[in-house]
Symmetry: C2
Subunit: 124 residues, 2 copies
């Protein structure tokens, strides 16, 4: 048996952002947040939350009537693995070209640049 792909699809990621933003959330919480932006059905949100739970990204707990979902693991860890995945897929594992792209393209504030430089100084 294989443990099913744990990577987040687009719809899943969108919902993870909502949950991350609230620490914890019910289907309704997520539904209402999404509705502010776009049309979506309550049960669609529910389905994705269930999938996220099955994939091990969320854990649920019955609280009063409804389930309350919380992240099952640290956001930074999840994001880190998405970054790795991306670097592997797009840059075949080499992080440097991505950094170069980012530095050249991204509009970074002087403060941002200063902070990154500080990190790099430490890393060296």
């Amino acid at each position: 048996m294989r443990h099913p792909s744990t990577t987040l699809t687009g719809a899943e990621l969108e919902i993870m952002h909502v949950v991350w933003g609230m620490e914890q959330a019910t289907v309704r919480d997520v539904y209402e947040t999404l509705r502010e932006r776009r049309k979506v059905a309550y049960t669609s949100v529910m389905t994705v939350l269930k999938i996220l739970e099955q994939k091990g990204h969320l854990k649920k707990k019955q609280e009063n009537r409804a389930y309350v979902y919380r992240p099952a693991r640290p956001r930074a860890q999840v994001v880190q693995s998405m970054v790795r995945d991306f670097v592997d897929r797009v840059f075949q594992g080499a992080a440097k070209p991505l950094l170069v792209h980012l530095v050249e393209d991204a509009r970074l504030s002087p403060q941002d640049v200063a902070e990154i430089r500080r990190l790099l100084r430490k890393a060296q």
Copy 2:
């Protein structure tokens, strides 16, 4: 009218890497390269190449018997837009957190670090 999603899916990206690596390639070229790594049918490769052409990522030219595919636009441009897309989806547009992730996680050689620092110094 909308120009159709130009973003590269997984299978498409894999094949773009092959074409990028060879400057130009026939279906057979790509097929043989992929076969070294995994099982795949000739016609599957053909289908994806055709999709890439329709999406405007490749242009083809008849040469002898077979089509020869070449990138339709600079690799750096395509990658850049994938990076933007990723930053938007995962970091909601903020490049800095991604940089931080990369610097903290990625195994960068001292040379890499030095080079990035140089870039940042210029950017500042």
